[in-house]
Subunit: 146 residues, 2 copies
DNA sequence: CTTTGTGCAAACGATTTGCAGGATG
DNA sequence: CATCCTGCAAATCGTTTGCACAAAG
C-alpha cells in the first residue's frame, strides 16, 4: 500500500513551503505501515514504543502539515476522534459497528455510481460511500447504536 | 419535513422505558424546526433564546435519549462536533466545504446504487453517500482543506 | 412513592496554543 | 542566520459525570 516515495513526500512538503523533518516522516511512515486508520494518539504511542520520538503536539502538527499538502486524509467515522489515512486516492470506507474498525473499499467496486443532479445551487465536487456492517472478528451483535 | 406526531414521539419514548419530558420534546421540536443539522450547542442556544429552558447537560442527555429510541441520528461530517438530524429515514448528505453546511439528499436520487461484494468476512448492513462541494452562499474558494 | 430526569459545576478526553530552545533551508 | 518546527505545559472545546432536587409514572 506504499504510495509515495520519501523523495516525493519530501518534495511535496517543500513545494508548499513546509519543512521536511524527521517527525513528519515518522508520522507518514507510521500511517503507511499500519493499514488501518489510526487516531493521533495511536500514532503517538506507536512512535514512542521504544524510545520517545515525538511529542503529542508534534504528532498533531505533523498530521495537519501532511493533510495540508495532500499526503494524508482525515477520516470522520467515529464520535469524538479523528482518524487518519495515508491513502489519498478516492476510495470508500467500511466501518464495523461492532469494533469500530475502519477499512478502505477500492473505488472501482462501486464503479456504477454516477452523481445525480442535486438541487440547483449545490455544486458537487466529490463523493464517497460509507458502508456500515460487521467484520469477521465481531460476532452477531443485537444492538446497533452508532 | 414533519416526521412524527408528538403522540408518536411520546409513545416511542415510553416503549423503550424512557420518560416523556418537556425538555426532550423541546429538543426534538427544535431539530424538526431547523431543517439543518445543528450541534448540541446550537440547539441549546436556540432553546434558551428567550428564557432559559434547558441546561447544557439536559440537551446532551435528551439527544442521547432520542438517539437511543431511534428518533434522532448523529451526523459526523465535521471535525470535533457531532451534529444531529431528526430525519432518521435512510438518506444521503451533502456538505459544503465552504461554510460547512450540511443538507440531506433524498435516498432515491441515488437509486441506482447497489452494494458490491466486499471482501469475504465483511457483512454490509447499510450504506450512505456523502457528497462534498459548494453551496449557493459560498463563492468559489481556492483551497479545499477538509 | 419509586425511579428517572434535570441542572449545576466539576471532570474528562481530544486537540490546540504559547513560548523557549533547536533544527531546517 | 532567519524562519519554521519541536516539545513541554497550560489552555480550550465539546461532551460526560456526580450529586441533590424535582418531576414522571
Amino acid at each position: 500500500m506504499q504510495q509515495y516515495t520519501s523523495q516525493q513526500v519530501s518534495q511535496t512538503l517543500k513545494d508548499k513551503g513546509l519543512r521536511v523533518t524527521p517527525q513528519r516522516f515518522a508520522v507518514y511512515a507510521n500511517l503507511l505501515a499500519r493499514g488501518d486508520h489510526p487516531t493521533a494518539e495511536q500514532i503517538l504511542t506507536d512512535l514512542n514504543q521504544d524510545a520517545p520520538q515525538s511529542s503529542q503536539a508534534t504528532v498533531y502538527s505533523a498530521l495537519q502539515a501532511l493533510r495540508k499538502v495532500g499526503l494524508v486524509r482525515e477520516v470522520l467515522l467515529e464520535e469524538g476522534v479523528s482518524r487518519y489515512d495515508a491513502n489519498v486516492r478516492p476510495h470508500h470506507h467500511f466501518r464495523c459497528r461492532g469494533c469500530g474498525a475502519i477499512e478502505d473499499i477500492p473505488w472501482d467496486l462501486f464503479q456504477s455510481i454516477q452523481l445525480p443532479d442535486l438541487r440547483p445551487g449545490l455544486r458537487a465536487e466529490r463523493y464517497e460511500v460509507t458502508v456500515e456492517g460487521l467484520c469477521d472478528r465481531c460476532p452477531e451483535l443485537a444492538e446497533a447504536e452508532s
